[in-house]
Symmetry: C2
Subunit: 546 residues, 2 copies
């Protein structure tokens, strides 16, 4: 473990007892009750040995002692839904997520091409024509005007569509004759593919992109891990691990370079079975890595109108999105996974997809006894009538608070004002007794959990808009937000026996913060970054200059 | 490690120093010189701490002490070329390797089908029409007459051909119109496929066989491991590991159930890159598992006339076998592996294949500095003029002594008497200064190394035939045979710094035997089985009743 630590950034040792003293310590206990403490004792295994009150006696001779000078200490945050390698690759490719207009995106593409003259394909992601106020999808010609000599392929912010230039379509041999595969759509203009490929159709171009080498993958992983530690994420549920992803995680583990914890869900049944074999893996590398289940995709995203709705899109009459699996396919996959004790996490964004996922769970629950902890990922647009069913069927709602401010205007356009009652409906879920696990969906959004917490408690965006919050009745308490990113996120990954709280016996994963998130304003929370990030009793990150 | 051990058969602990005393101890030192000792001290890490002479003082209070009562102790044997999962599956399927006639094979197939009424496909291996004296390949009708209701698919002993019944051909949709893929051949009679599919054509049927589940694979692995330990194999080079194989090895390691050591060579470039990533893995699980290189197939086998010869087969004029890779393909794969420091092991059986592998190595050696340890696997039929090139080019000859008695009559038929000078030419290789690594090619042959040692020193078969040995000038000394199965087999897998000898600092992998293989007769050696098998200071096997 020392080697592990040294391979990384900045490390404090924990060979014998470690005392972090003089803290404003906050954790939930296993029942979700708030516990405060002023000292944290860590044992030689990197587990919490004791939480100390102001009046408690300190260990006489700890091997390592740190005076936190009254700073706040909270459990390491758990991202219940992210894409680790996606984050890593996004850090290695062109990032358009900050662009606010097509012209700005074009300038960024042009600059990136000039800065990377040797790169045979220009790959990027993060564009969002809604944010640009473009009123249409971008086109191949929009890229051709700045880069025509090389293929360019840019994924949409939600990962559910891609944007190609003409060179990319040529290389991929896509023509007017090319048909979209089932579950996909090719945008056209004058009978020609116009450059945007939705959902399954994106693979027509993506399949032509040269595959990254293992060394690129390993570099991407280390970049992602570093970014997560800096943002205060100590555990992430990787939603859709491929065998290639898994091999990168294992290589890091084998080299003692795995700092964060990863709860892995295989990308569909094939990856699940290849990685886990006859069942979930044990916890590996000192509780750093485990494959626990499978991620299934039932629909697409709202932005690209791939989300499957009960009624047509308000801004595209006649379109309702589409399911990516037939009822039989969905149930077969769920049974196949469950029989071998893999947990099932179903991506469902539209209200029809959520209803269908709940129907499937209802069909299977009777025949599959035991604690399944079914997960619905996103649960973004849910028919209010379906919300109580989450609780009745024992389904965890795995939601990403940051999507609400990001999607607000788009969601209003897609659904119209009448169908927003079950949209991003955290508080309704909570009131119905549903377990809420919170995440970021990185790289669709930044992995930074603090804007997520701010959104969860305020229903406002980075600018504090709209004033008073969007459907503010769906905001949750600070304690619930913290729970969603700690205790319940651990529960959602069958990990509550080792992480998610700082009660004695749990792994000592924690953050040191400059302010108390239970007291700070939403805009202060949004700006928070950890001063230190500790995982298993080791400090893997310390903010520069602090 | 204790858990590991307990999961297996019978274990002696090695928590503190262990003394195995009163042994007739034999090992080679790192230079290949014979060393004798009477006591072995093992440290707490399971490594050799000291070899003791009769007059040396014994440790005063070893934690565990065993009196071997004068029995022989030799290093654990290393199989430099085997197929671990192939062995495991062979232990789970119909084994025809002992059948001496078609009628006997038919009776075995019929019995197996009756004993396994629920098995949808009857899978087996080990048939050899040469051994049956059949004078032709068997046919689908030969199986149909005993099992017609279910598909039957039986691999030939060398793995280079398969034999199907009509139901299997029907299920696989193979008809008279089906064309053999490149590198394969469909045997025909009256214009119809007759039931035997050679080399690449075997996949026409094999692709229709239901894939084994992960739990079947894991069970196969544990069966193989147990079999190897019983036979005295403590390390095996797995020649052609797929990602599925690798996952079974890792699952065993993750559960502390990996007893033997595996030096893995990926099945072609894709598996190598997926498993190893940017380069060979580190040694995992206390030196129990490592992926070190890639296995490439340049030709087929002699029995099925897939071996690639310089001149036509004596018993099939006009046929010379065929290369499975073009010169450019072979070199590209070798460069791709070598650039990332993976070791390259090329399967070459015929003299043309051996010459081509040597040519390729000669082409690459200049551009690829560093210690490559190129391996040619089998090197069965080598043009005598090519033998010195092994030494000149730094190529390890990875050979399987047991093939010689098994193949003798077949090789004479295939090659005729004039072309046997470079056949199974161990001593010629040794005299030319070539490093010889010995193995079994299990499950083509039994993994049992003792008949291999007997063949190596006597050039006779299980019946002691032919009297005086076949081309006895190619027999090697007992020391060379031991070296081939220990020190040089370790060297061939870049493992000589931890296994292959019992010199201090090496892993304490050893066997207790009832007789001394340096003194016993070939027929006595052939009958030997270990009384105990120790790996890394743990006793994983003890013969029943001993």
């Amino acid at each position: 473990m020392v080697v592990a630590a040294l391979a990384l950034l900045f490390v404090a040792p924990a060979h014998a007892d470690t005392l972090i003293d003089n803290v404003n310590g906050i954790t939930l206990d296993k029942d979700g009750k708030l516990v405060r403490f002023t000292g944290l004792v860590i044992d030689t295994e990197g587990k919490v040995k004791a939480l100390l009150d102001r009046k408690d006696k300190r260990p006489e001779r700890p091997d390592f002692k740190q005076d936190a000078k009254g700073k706040t200490l909270i459990p390491g945050l758990i991202d219940a839904h992210g894409h680790v390698m996606g984050l890593g690759f996004s850090l290695m490719t062109l990032d358009l997520s900050d662009t606010t207009s097509l012209a700005e995106a074009q300038a960024a593409i042009k600059k990136y091409a000039a800065d990377n003259p040797e790169t045979p394909w220009i790959i990027g992601r993060g564009w969002n024509q809604e944010k640009w106020g473009l009123g249409r999808f971008p086109t191949a010609a929009d890229i051709d005007s700045v880069v025509a000599d090389r293929p360019v392929w840019l994924e949409r912010v939600d990962g559910h569509a891609g944007w190609a230039n003409s060179a990319a379509m040529r290389t991929a041999r896509v023509t007017a004759e090319t048909k979209a595969p089932e579950g996909g759509r090719i945008e056209t203009a004058n009978g020609q593919p116009s450059g945007v490929f939705v959902d399954a159709a994106a693979n027509l171009i993506a399949a032509a992109v040269p595959k990254p080498l293992a060394r690129d993958r390993d570099r991407a992983f280390l970049l992602a891990q570093q970014k997560l530690l800096e943002q205060g994420i100590t555990t992430i549920a990787d939603m859709g691990t491929t065998i290639e992803d898994w091999q990168s995680f294992r290589r890091a583990g084998d080299k003692h370079a795995l700092a964060i914890r990863i709860i892995s869900y295989g990308h569909d049944i094939d990856n699940m079975a290849l990685i886990g074999g006859p069942g979930p893996t044990p916890w590996l590398y000192g509780d750093k890595l485990r494959m626990v289940g499978v991620k299934l995709y039932l629909d697409g995203a709202l932005g690209s109108r791939g989300a499957w709705l009960k009624a047509p899109y308000a801004d595209a009459p006649g379109q309702k999105g589409l399911p990516l699996l037939t009822p039989a396919q969905l149930r077969n996959k769920m049974v196949r996974a469950s029989m071998d004790k893999f947990q099932v996490a179903v991506h469902a964004i539209g209200d029809a997809a959520n209803a269908e996922a709940l129907d499937a769970i209802a069909d299977l629950n009777a025949d599959l006894p035991g604690e399944r902890r079914w997960r619905i990922e996103h649960a973004q647009i849910v028919d209010p009538a379906d919300i109580p069913r989450f609780m009745q069927l024992g389904v965890i709602a795995s939601m990403q608070p940051i999507h609400q401010p990001s999607d607000r205007l788009m969601a209003e356009a897609r659904l119209g004002p009448e169908r927003l009652a079950g949209a991003y409906a955290w508080r309704s879920m909570e009131k119905a007794g549903v377990r809420l696990a919170f995440g970021s969906d990185v790289p669709v959004e930044s992995a930074n959990p603090f804007p997520g917490i701010a959104a969860a408690i305020s229903r406002t965006d980075a600018a504090g808009q709209p004033f008073g919050g969007w459907h503010p009745e769906e905001a949750v308490s600070r304690e619930t937000a913290l729970d969603g990113f700690t205790r319940s996120a651990a529960y959602a990954g069958f990990a509550e026996d080792r992480i998610g709280t700082l009660m004695p016996g749990m792994r000592a994963d924690f953050l040191i913060l400059g302010a108390d998130p239970l007291l700070a304003s939403p805009s202060e929370i949004r700006q928070m970054t950890p001063l230190e990030t500790w995982v298993g009793g080791y400090r893997y990150y310390k903010k520069k200059g602090d």
